[in-house]
C-alpha cells in the first residue's frame, strides 16, 4: 500500500460534533442533536435501522453535506470556518467505501483503485506496484484490467474498499462494506480494516451485519430516528 499523506493530524479528536443537526429540506432533521467525538485511531461500528441516518452521518463526515446547525470539527478544524478550497485536502485524508460503490464504469479496476492517488498528483510509476499489490490482496488480481460493469457485486465491493484504503487515509468510513461479499471475504475485509485501525487509522463501519458487529468487538454507535442513542455524547476510547 502507499505511504501515508505527509500531513498527519494533530493530537485531538478526528471528528467532533456538538449539538449538530442536518436537514435536507429545511424542516425535518435527518440528524438531530448530534454529540459525537471520534478519537484518533479509534474503531466504531455504526448501526441502526434503515433510514435512521447512518448514511447522512457518514455524508457529514466525508464533507458531502454540511450540518445545518451546531458545530463540526474535522481533524481539529472548525468546518464552519474552512473555505471551500480547503475541502479537497481534507477529503484526501478520508477514505470512503460507498454503499453503492460509486466506481467509474469507464475505468479499469486498476484505474479506479488508483484514483485517489492520481488526484493527489502521484505519478503512475510511484503507485503502480502498490495498487497492483492491493488489488491482488483483495482478490482482484486476475480482474485488474476489468471494467466495473464486468465485475460481480462482491468484486465491486472489494474494489471500492481498495480505492478507499489505497491512499492510507487518516479516517476510513465504510458504508456496509461486507454487504455483497461472501463470509470468507467479509472476514478478510474486516481484518484489513482492523489492520489499518491498528496502524492509527480511525475507522467507522456502518453495518447491518450482526456477525461483523460481534466479530469486530468495537464500540457501537446506534442511530435511531436521526439520534445517536447509545454512545453519544460519551467519548469513544481509543482501542488498545
Amino acid at each position: 500500500m502507499s505511504r501515508k499523506p505527509e500531513t498527519k493530524p494533530a493530537d485531538g479528536p478526528v471528528v467532533r460534533f456538538q449539538g449538530a443537526g442536518l436537514s435536507y429540506d429545511g424542516e425535518t432533521e435527518a440528524l438531530s442533536d448530534l454529540e459525537l467525538t471520534l478519537e484518533r485511531g479509534s474503531l466504531h461500528l455504526l448501526t441502526g435501522p434503515s433510514g435512521s441516518g447512518k448514511s447522512s452521518l457518514l455524508k457529514l463526515i466525508y464533507l458531502a453535506v454540511a450540518p445545518t446547525r451546531g458545530s463540526f470539527e474535522l481533524f481539529g478544524r472548525d468546518m464552519a470556518r474552512e473555505p471551500r478550497d480547503a475541502l479537497p485536502l481534507l477529503r484526501r485524508r478520508i477514505g470512503v467505501v460507498f454503499q453503492e460503490f460509486r466506481l467509474l464504469d469507464h475505468l479499469s479496476a486498476f484505474d479506479n483503485a488508483a484514483l485517489p492517488l492520481r488526484i493527489a498528483g502521484r505519478k503512475p510509476s510511484e503507485y503502480r506496484d502498490d495498487v497492483v499489490e492491493l488489488l491482488e490482496w483483495v482478490g482482484l488480481g486476475p480482474r485488474i484490467d476489468a471494467l466495473p460493469p464486468a465485475l460481480s457485486g462482491g468484486e465491486k465491493q472489494r474494489l471500492a474498499i481498495a480505492r478507499a484504503v489505497v491512499g492510507r487515509p487518516d479516517l476510513i468510513l465504510a458504508d456496509e462494506p461486507t454487504g455483497n461479499v461472501d463470509p470468507s471475504m467479509s472476514v478478510r475485509i474486516l481484518r484489513l480494516l482492523l489492520e489499518l485501525n491498528r496502524t492509527g487509522t480511525t475507522v467507522v463501519i456502518a453495518t447491518h451485519d450482526q456477525a461483523l458487529v460481534e466479530r469486530a468487538q468495537a464500540p457501537v454507535l446506534r442511530l435511531d430516528g436521526g439520534r445517536l442513542a447509545h454512545e453519544a455524547p460519551a467519548r469513544i476510547r481509543r482501542r488498545p
Partner: protein, 297 residues
Amino acid sequence: MSAADDIGRGRPASLLPRRDGRSVSLVFVVGVLSFLACLAALAALAGDRAASGWTAQLTGEATVTVRPAPGQTPSASAAAAAEALSGAPGVSEATALEPERARALLEPWFGRDNIGADWPIPQLVGVTLDPAAPATTRTLQQALDAAGVNATVDDHGRWRDDIRRAGLISRAAALIGCGLIAWAAGAVIAFATKSNLAARREIVEVLHLSGAHDGFVARLFQARFAALAGVAGLCGALGAGALAVAARAFGGAEGFTPVLPIAWIDLLILAPAPLVTALVAAWSARVTAMSILKAAP
C-alpha cells in the same frame, strides 16, 4: 507476462469517458464555424491584396483632361499637353489617348450606342509616373500651365481614397466576423460544457469526494473540449483551404477570383485555425466549468 504486468505502465486512462454521442455534433458545429472564420480571413487577405493592387496602379498613373485652345484642334491640344508633360520631372511617359479610347471609357456609364458622334468627348492624356519619384499633381499642373495648355490633372486621389477605405472596411468586417464566429464557438462550447457537466455529475462528485479541486475537474473538461475543438478547427481549415485551392486552381487571376485574388501563400493563414479554435474552446470550457463547480454546494 501477465495482464497485470502491463497495467499502469502506459498513459493513465482519461477520467472522463471518451465515448460521447454528442461529440460528433459538436465537432460538426464548431468545424462549420471554423470553416466560416477561415473563409472570412481568406476573403480579408484577398480583399487587401486587391485593394493594394488597385491603389498601386492608381498611384502610378494620372489622367489629364485637355480643353482645346481657341483655333486649335483637340488632337493638337492633347499632343501639346503630352509633350509638355513628357518633359516634367517624375513623369515616365505621357500619351494622348485616341478619341476612341476616351469614348470607350464612357461606354460603361452611357452605353455604346448612346454616345453620339457630336458629343464633346474630352481629350485625355494618360500619364505614367516615375515609380521611384512620382510627380505630384502640382508639378504636372505647373508643366501644363507653363506650356499654355488649358487642362485639368486628375491624380485618381479620390479613387485611391475610396479603395483604401473599402479595403479598411473589408478588413474590419472580416475581423469582426472572425470575432463573432469565435464568440459563437465559445458559446457553443460553454453550452456543451454545461450539459456535459450535468451528464457527468456522478463522476464529478466521485472526483470531488476523492479530493479533487475544482481546477482539477475543470481541467478535464477543458482538455476534452480543447481536443474536440482542435479537430473541428482542423476540419474547418481543411475545408476552407480546399475551397481556396479550387478557386485558385480553377479560377486563377482571370477566372473566379479576379476581384478577390487568392495567392497560395494566403493558405498559411489557415494554419493556426486548429490552435486558435482549441484555445477558444479551452478558455470557454474552463470558465464555464469553474463557474458551475464553484456555485455547487
